[in-house]
C-alpha cells in the first residue's frame, strides 16, 4: 500500500521558485506521468519525493506516513536518475544488485532478481561490463534494471527511456508497463514525450513553470484540456486557437463564422487539427505548407491571419496557395478564458 500525497510542496532555489505549492495525490499502484517542458520542475518534484531535496514548504506522505523529514533510504522507494548515476566502479551485475546488497538479500535471491531484470531490459549479456564500456542507452537500461530489481512499493523514473532509439523505446515501454502493473508498484514517471505519457499513464500531470496545470486521465487531458497551455503542449501538432467575439448570448463569431459557445464575457476558440473536416461550409483557410505524413496530410494554413493546422486524409489533393474550407467537429470545439487561460465549461 503506497499512496503518495503531496501537500502544498514548494521549492525555492535562492530567489528562483522552481515549484509553486504543488498538491497531488497518486493512488496506490497508480501509474502517474509527469509531463512538461524542460525546466518546469519535474526533476525537482521527483527529488523532493525521493528525499534528495528538502521542500521549502509542504508535506510528502507515502503509504500513510509523513516522510519529508526522513532520509531517502527510509522511504521505501527506488529511483531511475535522469543522468543514470550508474556506478562506474561496479559491473552491471553489481550495479543492479546494489540495493539488494544494501538490504542484505541472500546471494541466490540477488542472482535471481538481477538476471530477471537484466533479461527484461535486454542487457543480460552485459552483466560483466563496467559502465564505461556501455553506450548511453545501455547505461540507462542498467539504471532502470537497478530500480526494478528492488521491487519497491514506489518507483520514481526520470525520463528512463529518453536515450533509446524509437524501436527499442516502444518495446521497453510496453515491457515496463507490463512489469509495473504486475508488481503492484506505485509509479511516478517523468517524460517530455507525450506519446510515451499517453500510452503509459493511468493519469498524466501536466506541469508548467512550477505548477501542476492538470492531472487527469490521458484521454481527458487530451480531449478536455483544463488550460490553454495543456492544449498547446499536448498533441502533435497542438491545438489551434482563434480569437472570438461575442455575437449574442452564447454565440461567438470566429473568423467570420458564428459558433455556439459558452455564456461568458470573453472567450477564445480552440480546436484540435484532427477535428477539422474539409467541407463546403466552415472556416476559410489559405494553405501555406503541405506535409504528407503517410496516413495523413498535415496542412499549415492561415485563418483570419492566425496560423492554423489541420490533419486531413492523405487522398485529399491540396497545394500551397489553395483556399479550402475547414469545418470543426461541433462537439470537439473548446473554449478558453483569454484572461486566465482556463477552460470554460
Amino acid at each position: 500500500m503506497a499512496e503518495i500525497v503531496i501537500k502544498g510542496v514548494a521549492k525555492q532555489f535562492g530567489a528562483f521558485t522552481a515549484l509553486h505549492s504543488v498538491d497531488l495525490t497518486i493512488a496506490d499502484q497508480e501509474f502517474m506521468v509527469l509531463l512538461g517542458a524542460s525546466g518546469c520542475g519535474k526533476t525537482t518534484l521527483l527529488r523532493i519525493i525521493a528525499g534528495l531535496e528538502a521542500p521549502s514548504q509542504g508535506e510528502v506522505w507515502i503509504g500513510g506516513r509523513r516522510v519529508d523529514h526522513l532520509p531517502p533510504r527510509a522511504r521505501g522507494i527506488a529511483m531511475v536518475f535522469q543522468n543514470y548515476a550508474v556506478f562506474p566502479h561496479l559491473t552491471v551485475f553489481e550495479n543492479i544488485a546494489f540495493g539488494l546488497r544494501m538490504a542484505n538479500m541472500p546471494q541466490a535471491e540477488v542472482e535471481r532478481r538481477v538476471t530477471r531484470t537484466a533479461e527484461l531490459m535486454h542487457i543480460g549479456q552485459l552483466l560483466k561490463r563496467y559502465s564505461g564500456e556501455l553506450s548511453g542507452g545501455q547505461r540507462q537500461r542498467v539504471a532502470v534494471a537497478r530500480a526494478l530489481a528492488m521491487e519497491p512499493d514506489v518507483i520514481l523514473m526520470d525520463e528512463p527511456l529518453s536515450n533509446l532509439d524509437a524501436l527499442l523505446r516502444l518495446e521497453m515501454r510496453a515491457e515496463l508497463k507490463g512489469v509495473l502493473a504486475q508488481s503492484k508498484t506505485t509509479t511516478i514517471y517523468v517524460t517530455h514525450d507525450q506519446v510515451e505519457a499517453m500510452s503509459l499513464a493511468d493519469r498524466i500531470s501536466v506541469m508548467n513553470g512550477g505548477y501542476i496545470v492538470q492531472a487527469d486521465r490521458p484521454t481527458e487531458v487530451y480531449r478536455n484540456p483544463a488550460a490553454r497551455f495543456v492544449g498547446s503542449f499536448i498533441g502533435n501538432p497542438p491545438m489551434n486557437f482563434l480569437p472570438a467575439s461575442p455575437d449574442g448570448a452564447g454565440r461567438w463569431r470566429v473568423a467570420g463564422r458564428v459558433f455556439d459557445g459558452p455564456h461568458a464575457e470573453a472567450a477564445e476558440f480552440a480546436i484540435r487539427p484532427e477535428d477539422l473536416q474539409a467541407a463546403s461550409d466552415g472556416l476559410n483557410a489559405e494553405v501555406r505548407v503541405v506535409e504528407p505524413l503517410g496516413p495523413h496530410t498535415l496542412i499549415t494554413a492561415e485563418v483570419a491571419g492566425q496560423p492554423f493546422r489541420a490533419v486531413l486524409e492523405s487522398d485529399r489533393q491540396v497545394a500551397p496557395g489553395d483556399v479550402i474550407t475547414l469545418a470543426p467537429v461541433p462537439d470537439r470545439i473548446r473554449w478558453f478564458d483569454p484572461e486566465t487561460h482556463k477552460a470554460i465549461a
Binding site: G51, L52, F87, M102
Partner: protein, 280 residues
C-alpha cells in the same frame, strides 16, 4: 611537424632530467656496486653487517607503517568534513595546508621546542603542577618517546598534502553517485566505503605513493628530535657519506631506500588498481 611539436616542447625538460637526474643516479648505482674500481657486493655486506642497519631499516619501516595509515585516516576524515562545507572551505584548506609550507627540519625544530628539557611541554606540566622539575623526554633511555615525537611531527607536518589531494579527488566525484547510493539504501558509512572510497582510488594512489616515498626518506625531523639516537635509513646514508666518508656504503643505503620505494609503490598501484572502463 605538428606531431613532433609536443615532443620538441618536452625535450628541454627531458634532457634536464636525463642529465641532472639519471646520470647522477647511474653514478650512485655504480658506486654502490664498486669498491676501489672493482665490481663487488662488498658495500652491501658492509652495510648489512653493521649493527645499526637492521635497527635503521626497521625504524624506517615502523615509522612508515604507523605514520602513513594514521595520516590516511585523518586526511580522509578531514577531507570528508571539508567536502561537506558550503562556505569557508578555501579558508580551512589554507589553514590545514600551513604545515606544508614549513621545511621538514623546521618542523622537527618546532616539535623539539615542545619536547626538549626547557620546552613548552615541561613548562606547561610544571605550571599545572603535574611535575616538580623538568623531565628529559628525548633521551636515549626513552627511545619510544623520541619515536612518538617523530610520529607526531610527521603527522602534523605532512597530513595536509594527503588531504589536499583527497579533497581534490572527492571534488571530482559527481554527487549523483552518492545520491543513488542513498536512495538504494546505503547508510552514510556504506556510501563512504562502497562509493566514495572506490571512486577515490586514483587520488588515493597518488596520495599514498607520494606519502610513502616521503616516509622512507624521513631524515631532518628525526635528526632534530633524536640526533642519531633513533637511526633511520636516510640518516645512516648521511652518516656513511659524510661522517664515515664511505661513499660506497652510503650508495648501498640509497639503493635500499630506492628498492623499498619502488616495491611499495608497486604494491599501492596493484592494490588500488582501477580496471579499464571502471573510471569515472
Amino acid at each position: 611537424m605538428n606531431r613532433a611539436l609536443p615532443y620538441l616542447l618536452l625535450l628541454p625538460a627531458s634532457l634536464f632530467l636525463l642529465v641532472f637526474f639519471f646520470y647522477p643516479f647511474g653514478l650512485v648505482v655504480v658506486e654502490s656496486l664498486t669498491r676501489g674500481g672493482e665490481w663487488t657486493t662488498e658495500n652491501f655486506t658492509r652495510m648489512t653487517g653493521h649493527w645499526k642497519f637492521s635497527t635503521a631499516f626497521w625504524n624506517t619501516i615502523w615509522l612508515t607503517a604507523i605514520v602513513v595509515p594514521v595520516q590516511l585516516i585523518m586526511a580522509l576524515a578531514m577531507a570528508s568534513v571539508v567536502q561537506k562545507l558550503k562556505t569557508g572551505r578555501a579558508g580551512l584548506l589554507y589553514i590545514f595546508a600551513i604545515p606544508l609550507g614549513i621545511s621538514d627540519l623546521a618542523a622537527g625544530l618546532v616539535w623539539l621546542a615542545i619536547f626538549e628539557q626547557s620546552g613548552f611541554l615541561n613548562s606547561i606540566l610544571h605550571a599545572f603542577g603535574v611535575i616538580d622539575r623538568p623531565q628529559l623526554y628525548l633521551g636515549y633511555q626513552s627511545l619510544w618517546v623520541i619515536f612518538l615525537a617523530v610520529c607526531l611531527a610527521e603527522i602534523w607536518r605532512a597530513t595536509a598534502i594527503m588531504m589536499v589531494i583527497i579533497v581534490a579527488g572527492m571534488g571530482l566525484i559527481p554527487k549523483e553517485y552518492n545520491e543513488a547510493a542513498e536512495v538504494f539504501g546505503a547508510s552514510a558509512w556504506q556510501r563512504f566505503t562502497r562509493v566514495t572510497l572506490p571512486l577515490l582510488r586514483p587520488s588515493l594512489q597518488t596520495a599514498l605513493i607520494l606519502r610513502i616515498l616521503m616516509a622512507f626518506e624521513v631524515f631532518a625531523v628525526v635528526m632534530a628530535l633524536g640526533g642519531t639516537t633513533l637511526p633511520v635509513l636516510m640518516g645512516e646514508t648521511f652518516q656513511w657519506q659524510f661522517q664515515l666518508q664511505d661513499r660506497g656504503v652510503a650508495a648501498a643505503y640509497a639503493m635500499v631506500i630506492l628498492g623499498l620505494s619502488v616495491a611499495f609503490s608497486l604494491v599501492v598501484l596493484r592494490l588500488l588498481h582501477v580496471p579499464k572502463g571502471a573510471r569515472i
